[in-house]
């Protein structure tokens, strides 16, 4: 189920996990997404292994409680993105 904003992607307003081909993984509220970019609001970023936590361990904690915002807005290059998943489904 998406939200009411017809001019946005169906994930607009939904908190998503954006994994990348690199060490970074992001969690934030999807503002919009197309073939070129993913725009996240109120986003957090984690680097694999930081604080002794793998990407999976980071996502597991994020799924339970949420994340602390590090960025008001992030624009991610879609070519680096390997998956976009709803945090609420994890």
């Amino acid at each position: 189920m998406g939200t009411f904003h017809q001019n946005k992607s169906e994930l607009h307003g939904i908190t998503v996990v954006v994994d990348t081909a690199g060490p970074e993984i992001y969690v934030g509220r999807c503002d919009d997404m197309d073939e070129e970019r993913v725009i996240l609001l109120d986003a957090d970023v984690h680097r694999d292994g930081d604080g002794g936590r793998s990407k999976d361990a980071y996502v597991e904690r994020a799924a339970r409680l949420g994340v602390w915002k590090k960025h008001d807005r992030l624009v991610l290059d879609r070519r680096q993105v390997t998956s976009v998943r709803r945090l609420g489904d994890l």
């Binding site: 189920m1 998406g2 939200t3 009411f4 607009h12 307003g13 939904i14 908190t15 799924a63 409680l65 949420g66 994340v67 602390w68 915002k69 709803r86 945090l87 609420g88």
Partner: protein, 145 residues
Amino acid sequence: MPYPELMIKPFREELTTIGFEELTTAADVDRWMEQNRDGEPALLVINSVCGCAAGMARPGVRLALREGARPQRLATVFAGQDVEATATARGYFPDVPPSSPSMALWKDGEVVYFLPRHRIEGRGPEQVAADLRAAFEEHCAVAAS
């Protein structure tokens, strides 16, 4: 910046009309939290304007409270509107990242269940209610009359 009060009044009333006490000051929150050390389960809803999630959260709460085990003590703060009260409430669960709408079930002065915004958004009221009912079954001994 807060929304005009006239606009959010219906959002407040969706909860206050089913028995939620509205906490609008830090003192209100502190008083409510203090009474929650007596073992009675208590539900705090962090309300918000956001239509993407709050529009599902409030009906979900209403559904969940209709029958079955449930907390009798209900309160709400309004994020973005009653800023001081919301910040004070969040100070009682500092390890939980802020999100709104969200819900915290208290027992003996501790959060025993937390429903963050990302478990509400994109879902229907029935699904939100199902999650809440499961938590109520686990933590609330008193059945609704």
